[in-house]
Symmetry: C2
Amino acid sequence: MEVKVMKNILGENEKIAEDNRKFFRDKKIFVLNLMGSPGSGKTTLLEKTLSKLTQKIKVAVIEGDLFTARDAERIEREGVPVVQINTSGGCHLDAPMVRRAAESLNLDAIDLLIVENVGNLVCPAEFDIGENMKAVVLSITEGDDKPLKYPLIFKESAACVLNKIDLLPFTNFNLEQARADLEIIHPMIEIFETSCTKEIGIYNWCEFLIDKMKNF
Amino acid sequence: MEVKVMKNILGENEKIAEDNRKFFRDKKIFVLNLMGSPGSGKTTLLEKTLSKLTQKIKVAVIEGDLFTARDAERIEREGVPVVQINTSGGCHLDAPMVRRAAESLNLDAIDLLIVENVGNLVCPAEFDIGENMKAVVLSITEGDDKPLKYPLIFKESAACVLNKIDLLPFTNFNLEQARADLEIIHPMIEIFETSCTKEIGIYNWCEFLIDKMKNF
């Protein structure tokens, strides 16, 4: 009985997600769904990404959080249009939330919409929001066992950003092991090593994003 | 409609959680529900806690994970009875899962049951498993904004363990701000600063646990 209800909810979300995808495609907007644990550094990566990308393309951001508009305020300082979705405790964004938020933006003026999902390595991976690409941020301090322990989010993501790489010397994170595990879970995944505080790897990540947009 | 279904599921869980609590009390077992983000250091804190506590009391552990038995294998090396629950992608433990797992342990031989929940700062806070106390592990590398962004889990927890405190000099974590925010969300919360790699604060955390057990 519970499973049936869950399927119905997912089915409804998938329908709206497909419709979102068509809606964004008609407006020639590429949509990135950026996911990761609380504190993996999604918002900081986004700030660095925006400071590079906005020289070349027009970007807008949807910020997903349970409560507060802190992340949206940070993004606004980058001079980028941003809408905050507060889920009031909800553990993921879904397609209807993203559609409502997107419709409050001036969509004719943008090429790329980045949706920063709720900080959670589990639930967001299960909900299509109508994106063209998913990416997951995994910080070095979270440990190298996370890909095998939370495989779905890594399987669903075209890219994995290994963030806070500057903290590698202070942890027991085994980079080779993490890369090998990611390879098993998702052989086609693109892996980036970044540090937002030390400005490492941001360029490659941004070039990858632009390349994905060109081929969409 | 969806809300109604959710309420029914929660209602059913709460009934079983209450029954669990009675079941554990009859056996004089104190139950701790240990929560936190993926990579906050729950399992390592647990290893350190066990190495201290098992000199004084009899402990067993239930490990919650989406997949793999990696954490259970780590706990087993501490010489402690352990059961792994794999949720197969599910984002939290619930009361029936914990009951089934507990019944596979020799409960007459233990004083304290520690349940390590799925790595997730959102969903586990919503599901009573029949514990006597909740505690949340927040690692310094996750950022000081997490209490305000994920308030429920901090509101529900009797203790917050600020872990990886040795990494404080390498981050922009504002300890004073985090403490002030925790104070707002939950004035009665006990805060511990720990480092499992540098063996900081483990003693105080363990003494707190033993004290809670005495007064239960």
